[in-house]
Amino acid sequence: MKPVNAVIKEVIKETPTITTLIFDIKPDAIPGQFVMVWIRGVDEVPMALSHPNSITVQRVGDASETLSNMKPGDSIGLRGPFGNGFELTGQRIMIIAGGVGAAPLLPLAHQLRLRDAKISILLGAKTSKELLFEEQFSRSGELKAATDDGSKGYHGVITGLMDKYDLNSFDMFYVCGPEMMMRAVLDMLHVNGLENRSQFSLHRYFKCGIGVCGSCTIDPWGLRVCKDGPVFYGDILLNSELGKYHRDVTGKKIMF
């Protein structure tokens, strides 16, 4: 399938660094699936769907910068949706989102809510202005924020906030955020023997996006983040490279 054309309908500045682009088509996706977003003449990068018809982009480099500057009427190419997405299960749910990692978790929260799940959302960011989707998440459950600088909510990392809950009372933990935060969450769940009640959405360098080229595979089982993932259960990740190293575009290991 060639990239499908998507026209930007609306641009929402979510935070100083994060922008949501709403387009004119709704790829038929489940929460946690991603699209390969082609910014013509620039690059093609993976992005989670933050609503059925949107992506939410953090500015970090060329592609995300160009996306962040798009105006209604501009268009992008979309391949996908690809990947496995989250498995929706459980009634007592904890959603743990760090930074732009909130993007794939928002549609998940909506869908879980429709299933009458009871949801606690732990939303982390560097600073209060960078808290993403705070209001939208609140509609699906009880939200607690954590900021590195203490400008809102809990002052410190998100695992500190987790400490305040009886983790054993949750059926499922859904996690997405910076890699070191995900590793910390996984380790903490592991201490409680809960890794198999958790799903993590991972990031790796994607080229093909469809499970053929191998650039996104993770050690030690060679799982493809783009096709076998991006969502993996915690027990699968426990002894993996997560939080230890990843590979750059050449395939070279880069330590975290």
Partner: protein, 304 residues
């Protein structure tokens, strides 16, 4: 009725079946290769490795079309120095690991071969169609092909396979050059130079503008190349291009392939290797045949 024997010895490598993972498919890391090794293949081939780290072409680097995949990965690799670790991991899988390598000068091939430890064989990528200085850029010139093959043979203590491009007027000339250079086998084919354009914008889709076509679309082209090479050469021909069903593997072998490689078809079906080798077994058994009975059989049917 005796059981057919799927195991083969190919250029001296023992393989439990003749179905091989093609180069550049899930061959970036040792762990990935090891995973495939456990899924029923006869052997695995790594991503093509060069002398220095390469980022590859900008994205988009692959797009699935109606009848195949179009890619221009651009040979991303961390260089052979970084790849030794991956190779060691790959070798934990219980099948031969063939390392695909590329370069623009015979010396570069020698350097890589010397620098990599534990490869069961090397496949010389003289055929990638979307590189300025590597792959088909050298693989369309019979003189260079012979020289590179010779250099590789001289350096290596393991078999040398030479992978050919179909983007030439006559693939047999190139196969003969490889054979003169001492190749233990030729592999045909790499992808066919191709392009796709986005009609919404007019942009070529691939970051590299053009790339190589693989998958079902190219199988009939590959079958013809294998057929011609089998007829002309005395060394084994390994068939690759669009094999996605057991029938395709049989067709390729009937054209003259001693073994087949599979790349793109993994896109739809991760269990393709075991499926194809099991179906091959059933096919041979139902007809009381062995692999040797079908390899190149198409040539015998023909009034020359």
């Amino acid at each position: 009725m005796t059981q057919p024997e799927l195991s083969i010895e190919l250029t001296g490598l023992g393989m439990k079946n003749p179905v091989i993972l093609a180069a550049g498919i899930l061959g970036t890391t040792g762990a990935s290769l090891k995973r495939i090794a456990g899924s029923g293949v006869g052997a695995v081939i790594t991503k093509s490795i060069g002398t220095i780290p390469e980022k590859g072409h900008p994205n988009p680097s692959l797009v699935a079309l109606e009848c195949g995949l179009l890619n221009a990965m651009g040979l991303p690799n961390p260089s052979y120095k970084e790849f030794n670790d991956e190779l060691a991991t790959a070798k934990e899988g219980d099948v031969p690991v063939i390392v695909s390598i590329f370069g623009s000068h015979p010396d570069e091939f020698s350097e890589i071969i010397e620098g990599l430890e534990g490869a069961d064989a090397f496949e010389l990528n003289l055929s990638c169609p979307h590189s300025q200085q590597y792959g088909a850029a050298v693989g369309t010139d019979p003189v260079l092909v012979e020289k590179i093959t010779k250099a590789a043979k001289t350096t290596a203590s393991v078999p040398i396979w030479v992978k050919l491009t179909p983007n030439v007027t006559d693939i047999v000339t190139i196969g003969e050059a490889a054979s003169r250079g001492g190749a233990d086998a030729v592999v045909a084919i790499n992808t066919i130079r191709s392009m796709a354009i986005d009609i919404h914008s007019g942009y070529p889709i691939l970051g590299n503008l053009y790339g190589g076509l693989s998958g079902a679309a190219i199988r009939p082209v590959a079958v013809k190349c294998v057929y011609d090479l089998y007829r002309a050469l005395d060394i084994p021909v390994i068939g690759v291009g669009g094999v996605s069903k057991w029938e395709d593997a049989v067709e390729m072998m009937m054209a003259g392939a001693s073994a087949v490689q599979i790349g793109s078809a993994i896109y739809d079906n991760f269990t393709i290797f075991s499926e194809i080798s099991e179906a091959l077994f059933t096919f041979l058994k139902s007809r009381d045949l062995n692999l040797g009975d079908i390899i190149g059989i198409a040539h015998k049917k023909v009034k020359q």
